[in-house]
């Protein structure tokens, strides 16, 4: 066993027969050294299982290769999925992703940004709370660190935004619902946390007007992230009080719809698009559980993967060009209609 324990790059340089500065170059960019020395180094790495001390590396490097990823709530499968996609994109590009959840609390969003500041990341991918974010903090952060927003936009903050085009997606859903039955009412939170909710409300109103139907909006009381509970309690109340003037309810997001479907089931209502059904319910987001609701949920699929990779790519080019972008870019992706059994 000649495999002594390597303590630092100096020791490693002796056992591998390459000078320390060359090793340093190698670890920054393996292609920056000659093929033969690269091979020599890589063999030694495999043999001695050495890797540089990341704290020493990051202390001395101007910028780290860390990328912060901040999402409002990992307990929401939507964010855990999209967070995962972003994480993989960063990893594949040779960065070190760090996923942070704000657990539904805007104060934690601030804490996470402060934590990231101390991590000196090359850039940050942020899905902000939006309306309830501490916008001045986020804006200040985005002036110090390259930031790309995704999912939820905050006007003027960060150097780019990537998300779904709520106007397009809601119009698509309204069009489908109008063609296939009675025009939809909208069921949403009275005080939404998320800017997408406002965009969807406006999109619904516009779309209904365009189609020549009266708009009907019903708003659930309640705050926080317990959308299923709110959808169940408030949606159930509205269903039992028969407040909806048409037999079709479009929920502002799938989690509200999941709650409402469970309430409808309890009330013995037959939900679905077939004949003999009492009510149609549709959602928005293609939540991972939306295909297992009873009945399965007709909804709008956001392209998680596309949002994630585009946001990540945008950030990478920002980092690598190291130039402030000339102007803020907003990328809006189309949603797709997923026709299942609930509407």
């Amino acid at each position: 066993m000649t495999k002594q324990k390597i303590r630092n790059m100096d020791e490693f340089s002796t056992v591998c027969g390459v000078s320390r500065p060359t090793l340093s170059k190698f670890f920054n960019d393996p292609d920056s050294v000659k093929r033969s020395t690269r091979d020599k180094i890589e063999q030694a790495i495999a043999k001695y299982d050495y890797s540089p001390n990341i704290y020493a590396v990051n202390q001395n490097r101007r910028k780290t290769r860390n990328i912060g990823i901040v999402v409002p709530n990992l307990a929401d499968p939507f964010f855990s999925e999209i967070g995962r996609e972003v994480e993989l994109a960063c990893h594949d590009a040779g960065y070190s992703p760090i996923v942070l959840s704000s657990h539904g609390r805007p104060t934690l969003e601030v804490s996470n940004l402060n934590l990231l500041r101390s991590l000196k990341p090359a850039g940050v991918l942020l899905a902000p709370f939006g309306r309830v974010s501490d916008i001045s903090v986020v804006d200040k952060f985005a002036k110090d660190v390259p930031v790309v927003l995704f999912d939820a936009n905050i006007d003027g903050v960060g150097e780019a935004f990537v998300g779904t085009d709520n106007t397009q997606s809601m119009d698509l859903m309204v069009e489908y619902l109008c063609r296939s039955g009675q025009p939809p009412c909208l069921f949403e939170m009275k005080s939404p946390l998320n800017p997408n909710a406002f965009k969807r409300r406006h999109a619904y109103l516009e779309s209904m007007e365009r189609h020549g139907f009266p708009a009907h909006i019903f708003q659930a009381e309640g705050t926080g992230w317990g959308f299923e509970e709110i959808g169940s309690a408030e949606g159930g109340r509205m269903l039992s009080e028969k407040v909806f003037p048409t037999d079709t309810v479009l929920c502002s997001n799938d989690r509200l719809a999941i709650g409402m479907l469970s309430a409808a089931y309890s009330l013995g209502l037959r939900i679905g698009h077939g004949s003999g059904c009492d009510l149609r319910i549709a959602g928005h987001d293609d939540h991972p559980y939306s295909r297992y609701t009873c009945p399965s949920l007709t909804t709008i699929a956001q392209d998680y993967s596309e949002i994630a990779t585009r946001a990540a790519q945008t950030l990478f080019t920002m980092i690598e060009s190291s130039e402030a972008a000339s102007e803020r870019r907003e990328t809006l992706l189309d949603g797709k209609l997923i026709m299942r059994n609930s509407a």
Copy 2:
């Protein structure tokens, strides 16, 4: 604006009137300096917004205050919930938690452990895949770094384990089902990834024998983490083929049950414990969505919070005593019966 930008602890020591070594002491433990100097420092921190460079700190400290938290899959709400509890417990104890998801892939579990190794954590809280973990890697890791396992146990690995007592919980559920109707069949994965599944199978068999009923086990084909899909496809097939000899099915976990419930709904079966129902379905875990299934799912609640805090506490005492524990400790917590409408 006298607020010049502080670059390091030296500069900070001049503007705050306290010597650098004293500052260093303060940042390691604010209580280790006199009250008056502490106040002076804290005022200066607030004024100049200084915090030590964490890379320089961690380079020089023998051990960091990082705690790694590794879960098999954050997309599973069970792990995102319990991961959050563990994270908070670490944070409250003054450590820096780092949550890593293996995204359902055992190879990523190995990657995450390697990543953690370079982060030189004070300790690691690991919910391992179990059977499909690379056990030799995990074991070797646990010999270098203090590790507490939670949720899933691997015999002899790490210095402690905290999880739910599957024997107790399954017996509780079997007892309830037998008292309230026909004895349950067990629906589970044929090749489970998780050691808890095996424990639950054994617990079911023992419990049925103790109650004097014949055991009936039905195993779903399929691998991976798409439990809902497997529960829906395989469970649906079994339901339509009427393979279950009793009218009660106990699913090995809630996600299988969610899938099976959705299949049962599609088949027009009336699920529930009331008269006029065709079938009872029960689960295990109290998955966050189990109260919104149709009908709501009768299940076993694991005490997420208790598991998390106990695991964290165990790790903290290990770290702070810095002594290898005399022997490995296994803590098993009782599950609670949650009677809802499905069984």
